[in-house]
Symmetry: none
Subunit: 129 residues, 4 copies
Amino acid sequence: MFELDVRSRKPIYEQLMDKIKEMIMYGILKPEEQLPSVRSLSTQLTVNPNTIQKAYRELEREGYIYSQPGKGSFVSPEQQQPTQAQQVDMRERLLKLFAEAIYLGFTKEDLQKLYEQAIQEQERGHHHD
Amino acid sequence: MFELDVRSRKPIYEQLMDKIKEMIMYGILKPEEQLPSVRSLSTQLTVNPNTIQKAYRELEREGYIYSQPGKGSFVSPEQQQPTQAQQVDMRERLLKLFAEAIYLGFTKEDLQKLYEQAIQEQERGHHHD
Amino acid sequence: MFELDVRSRKPIYEQLMDKIKEMIMYGILKPEEQLPSVRSLSTQLTVNPNTIQKAYRELEREGYIYSQPGKGSFVSPEQQQPTQAQQVDMRERLLKLFAEAIYLGFTKEDLQKLYEQAIQEQERGHHHD
Amino acid sequence: MFELDVRSRKPIYEQLMDKIKEMIMYGILKPEEQLPSVRSLSTQLTVNPNTIQKAYRELEREGYIYSQPGKGSFVSPEQQQPTQAQQVDMRERLLKLFAEAIYLGFTKEDLQKLYEQAIQEQERGHHHD
DNA sequence: GTGGTCTAGACCACG
DNA sequence: GTGGTCTAGACCACA
C-alpha cells in the first residue's frame, strides 16, 4: 500500500500525509471511505502508532479527513472550497517551480505534456471503482 | 537585498539558499559575479555567520556557486547541462504539484498564465543590467 | 428533531446532552414532559442505544431530567435554585469568554446585541406551545 | 507560574494552551517575548516534554506563538485580524453561554459587571510592564 | 474495536 | 542550548 523512506530527511508522518493526500486527490480513496485504523497501519508499516496518529491529526486539521473517536478515520465528504490562503500559496509554489523548471531548460511543451499526464492520472484514479 | 522570515518553519540557511538560487535563476546575479562575504552578509542580515557559511557550503555542493579560499564566493560560470537525475526529479515535482493544483480547482488557463508570468519575471531579471 | 454532527470531535453523547439541555432551557421541552425513549431516539438518529443511554444517565446525574424505570424519562419539574457552585462556575466561564471575545475585538455593543438575541430566542421558545 | 490539574478531564496540553492564551490576552506575555523552553517548562511542571511540545505546536497553529527550531518559542508579534470563522465561532459560544447564564438566573446587570471586570483585568495586565 | 493522551527517553538538525 | 521527530508502551473514553 505505502512505501516509506525512513532515511529520508522528510519526516515519516509528512511522507504519510503526502501519500494519503495523493490517494484522495487521485480518487483512489473515496469520500466517506474509512481509512485503516491507526493501529493496523502502525503494524503494517512497522511505524509507531504515535507517528500515524500525528499524520492523521494533521490531515484532519487540513480538512482532508476526519476522525471519530471510537469509530475510525474517514475521508472528508467533498473537496471543500479552497481557502484564499490555499490558492495564494499554490500560486507561489507554482511560480517558484516554473522558474526552476525554466532554468533547467523545460519548455512550454514539456510542461503541457506533464499537465496532460497529471490530468489523465487523476481521471484514471476516479474511474478505478 | 534579502528579507528572511524568522517566523517561517523553514531553516534560515535554506531560505538564504532559495533566495540566492532565485537571484541566479532570474539573472540578477550574473555568472562569475562575486557574492557578498560571509561576514558582511552576517552583519547585514543579523544572522549567525555559521548559518551563512552553511548556506554557501550547500550552494557550492549543489553547483550553484564556487568558493576560492581567501578570495570569496562566486556564481558558477554557466548553466551546465542539467543532470538526467535533475530532470527526472523536476518531472516528478511538477507532476505532483499539478495534481495538487488541479485538485484545488486550478484550470489549464490558470497554469498557463502563471507560466507566462514566470517567463516574464525571468526576462525582466536578465534585462536588469 | 436533532441533528448530530458526526464529524465533530465532540462525543455524540455530549452533543445529545447539549441539544436536550438547550431545548429545556429554551422551553421547547416543558417540565414533566416525557422524553423520547432510548429505543426510538436510537433508531431515529441511527445512533447506538448505549450512546443515548449514556446521555440520559448524565442528564439525570446533572438534574435536568429524571427517569422512572419502566415508564420513561421526563424533564425535571422546575428550575431548581441554582447551586452556588453552579453560579461560581458560570461566573468564571463568562469572565474567560469575555476576555477572549475582547481579545478578538468584540465591543460592548456586540455583546449586548448577542445578549438581546439570546433573550429573544428564549422567549420565542417559551411561547412556542 | 502555572497550575495544572492532572486529574481533570481536560487534557494537560489543552490546559496549558488555555493558560498561555490567557497570559497573552491579558498582556502578561508581551509580543515577541520568549516563552520558556519546552524542556524547562517540562521539568518545572513535571510534565513530559512531548506534552509541552504538543501545546506549543497547537498554539503556533492557532497563531498565538511561533517557534524557531534552534532558537526558541516566541509570542506572535500582534493580534492579527481575527478570521471570519473565529468571529462566527465566538458568536455561537457567546450565545450558548448567555442562554445558559440566563437559565441560571443571571441578569443583564450581572453580565455587565462581569464584562467590566474582564476589561479591568485586561488593562491591569497591560499596565503590568 | 476505535481514536486520543501521556510518559520515558532517544536522536537529529539548527543557531 | 533550542525545537522537532520518533519509538516503546501504557491508559482512557467512546461506540
